[in-house]
Amino acid sequence: MLLRMAAELNDTALMLRYQDGDMAAFETLYKRHRGPLFRFLLHRIGNQQFTEDIFQEVWSRIIRSRKNYRPNAKFTTYIYHIARNCTVDHYRRVGSQENVISDGDECIAEPVATTGNPVAETANRDIRNALSAALSELPSEQREVFLLREESGLSLDEIATVTEVGRETVKSRLRYALGKLRQCLPQPEGAGAEHG
C-alpha cells in the first residue's frame, strides 16, 4: 500500500514536472503506464487499430490538458478516467460495444514462451485461449471492472470513481466476472462443484 502511495506521489510529481516542461518526467510517466493502459484498451475494445487510435488520443488529451492537471486525485485514476471517456466516445462513433468486440482474441491468444514440454504447452495454450475467449465474452461492464482491477491495480473505490458507479456495483460486477472467468480454468480437486 505504501509502495503504491509512493508510486502515485511520484506520478503526481512527474506530471507536475511535465507541466513545467520537464520532458524526462513525461517519458518516465509514459513508460510506467503505457503497457497497462494499452492492454486495458485492447481487451476493452478488442481491435488493434482502434486501440492504437484511442491509446494515442488518451495521451494526447493528457498532454493538451497538462495545464489544467491538479493533483486532487491519483494520476492512475485520472488517466483511466480519460481512457474510459475515450472508449465511450469510440463506442458512440462506431456503434454498440458488443458489435465491435468480435476479434478480441486476435492479439491475446498466443503463448508467451515455450517450456520444452509439448503437452504442458498445449495445456497452457488451451487455458490462455479459453481465458481470452471468456474475457471477450464477458459483459462490457464486468470486463471493464476486471481489466481496471488487473491492469491499473485500482481499489474498488477508485474503480467506482472511474466507472462512475457505486462501490457495491463494482464489487458485484467483479465477482460475476471472476466467477465466469474461473469456469474456464482447470478446477482444483474438490473445488469443482463450488465453481460450477
Partner: protein, 354 residues
C-alpha cells in the same frame, strides 16, 4: 413422504447455496489480495504493448507541447504567476496597506484648515474695512499683526502648520514655479535691467537684487517661510503704520500685495490655498504679472519697469519679507526671525532693515 422429501431436498439445496456463497466470498477476498488463479492466468496471457512507432508519436507530441519556442505567452504567464503570483500579491497588499496607513498618519499631522466660507468672509471683511488705527496691536496680549488680529491666534498657527513632508513637497514644487523657463527669463531680463539702471543711476541697490546670486540662493532654499511670507503680506494689506515711510511705495501701489500673493502661490501653493481671499487675490496677482510681462515684451523700458517694480520678479519682496520677520520677533520667535533674516540678507544683501 413426498412432501418430506421435497423439504429435505430444498434444505440441502439451500445449504449448498450458502456454502457456495461463503466460498465465493472467500475466493473474492483472496482475489482482492492478489491470490487468485484467474489473475495468474491473466498475467500469463501475451503481454502486448504499444508499438515503437506509437511510442515515438506520443513522445514527439509531448515534446513539441513543452518545447520552449512553442510555448505560448499564456504558458509563460501561467508559469510566472504560479511561481510569483502569491509573493507579488502579498507585496502589493502590504504596499497598499502601508500607503493607507502612511496617508492616514500624514493627514492626522496636518491640522485642518478653517472652513473656506468663514475664511473668505473674514478676508472680505478685512479687505473692505476702512483704513483705521488698530489699537489691539499695541496690546501685549493680543496678536500684533493684522492677520493675527483678524483671526484667533490658534487659527494663524493652524494655517501655517506645515509638516516636514509637506514642506519638502512644496520645495519640490518650487522649481516648477520659476526655476525653469520663467526663472531663466527673469535672470536674463533682470541682469539687463540692473545694468541699465546702474548706467542711468536709477537703481536703488538697497531694494533690488543681484539677479544671478539671488536666484541661486533662492533655489538653495533662501526664501521666506510660508507663515513669514503670509504675515508680511498681511502687514502690507493692513497698511500697517508701523512700517516706515521708506516702504510706503507699497501703499501707493496696493496691487503689490496681490502680486506677492501670486508669487507665494507658485512657491507655496498649499499654504496660499488656505489663505484668505485666495481666489480674488490670485486672479488679481496673475493679471498684474501678465500685464507686466506684456509690458516686458512690448518695450525694454516696460521690462525694466516691471523688474524695478518687482512685479515679474519671482522673489519675495524685501519689504514684505521684513514685515514677516518683524511679526516673528513680535511673537517671540527670535530664532526663526534670525534665520529668516539670514536668508533675506542672502537675497537682498543691501537691504536695510529698520
Amino acid at each position: 413422504m413426498a412432501e418430506k422429501d421435497d423439504d429435505g431436498k430444498a434444505d440441502m439445496n439451500g445449504t449448498q447455496n450458502d456454502k457456495r456463497e461463503e466460498l465465493s466470498a472467500e475466493l473474492f477476498e483472496h482475489y482482492l489480495d492478489g491470490e487468485s488463479s484467474v489473475s495468474e492466468a491473466y498475467r500469463e496471457l501475451k503481454h502486448v504493448e504499444p508499438s515503437a512507432a506509437l511510442d515515438n508519436a506520443i513522445l514527439s507530441e509531448a515534446r513539441d507541447a513543452v518545447r520552449p519556442n512553442n510555448m505560448s505567452l499564456f504558458d509563460l504567464d501561467l508559469r510566472f504567476w504560479r511561481h510569483w503570483g502569491k509573493p507579488l500579491t502579498t507585496v502589493v497588499i502590504m504596499g497598499v496597506c502601508l500607503t493607507v496607513v502612511l496617508r492616514v498618519m500624514d493627514y492626522e499631522t496636518i491640522v485642518p484648515a478653517p472652513p473656506l466660507d468663514t475664511e473668505l468672509a473674514t478676508a472680505e471683511q478685512k479687505r473692505t474695512r476702512p483704513a483705521q488705527s488698530e489699537p489691539e496691536y499695541d496690546s501685549p496680549t493680543e496678536p500684533t499683526t493684522p492677520m493675527a488680529a483678524a483671526m484667533p491666534n490658534e487659527s494663524i498657527l493652524e494655517e501655517i502648520t506645515i509638516t516636514p513632508r509637506k514642506r519638502s513637497e512644496n520645495l519640490q514644487e518650487v522649481p516648477l514655479a520659476f526655476d525653469d523657463s520663467w526663472g531663466e527669463e527673469i535672470v536674463v531680463t533682470a541682469r539687463k535691467s540692473v545694468e541699465k539702471a546702474r548706467e542711468t543711476d536709477q537703481l536703488r541697490t538697497d531694494r533690488y537684487v543681484h539677479a544671478d546670486d539671488a536666484l541661486e540662493a533662492w533655489q538653495q532654499g533662501a526664501r521666506p517661510a510660508a507663515d513669514v511670507w503670509l504675515a508680511g503680506i498681511a502687514a502690507v494689506y493692513s497698511k500697517d503704520e508701523s512700517l516706515d515711510e521708506s516702504n510706503s511705495y507699497l501703499f501707493d501701489e496696493p496691487d503689490k500685495a496681490d502680486i506677492e500673493i501670486a508669487k507665494m502661490a507658485r512657491v507655496y501653493p498649499e499654504d496660499i490655498r488656505r489663505s484668505e481671499e485666495r481666489n480674488e487675490l490670485l486672479a488679481t496677482g496673475d493679471a498684474q504679472i501678465a500685464k507686466m510681462r506684456d509690458a516686458e515684451s512690448e518695450s525694454a523700458s516696460g521690462a525694466d519697469s516691471a523688474l524695478v517694480n518687482g512685479a515679474a520678479n519671482p522673489l519675495a519682496d524685501p519689504v514684505v519679507w521684513a514685515a514677516g520677520i518683524e511679526w516673528l520677533y513680535e511673537n517671540n520667535r527670535d530664532g526663526e526671525a534670525e534665520a529668516e533674516l539670514e536668508k533675506l540678507k542672502r537675497i537682498y544683501p543691501d537691504f536695510a532693515l529698520n
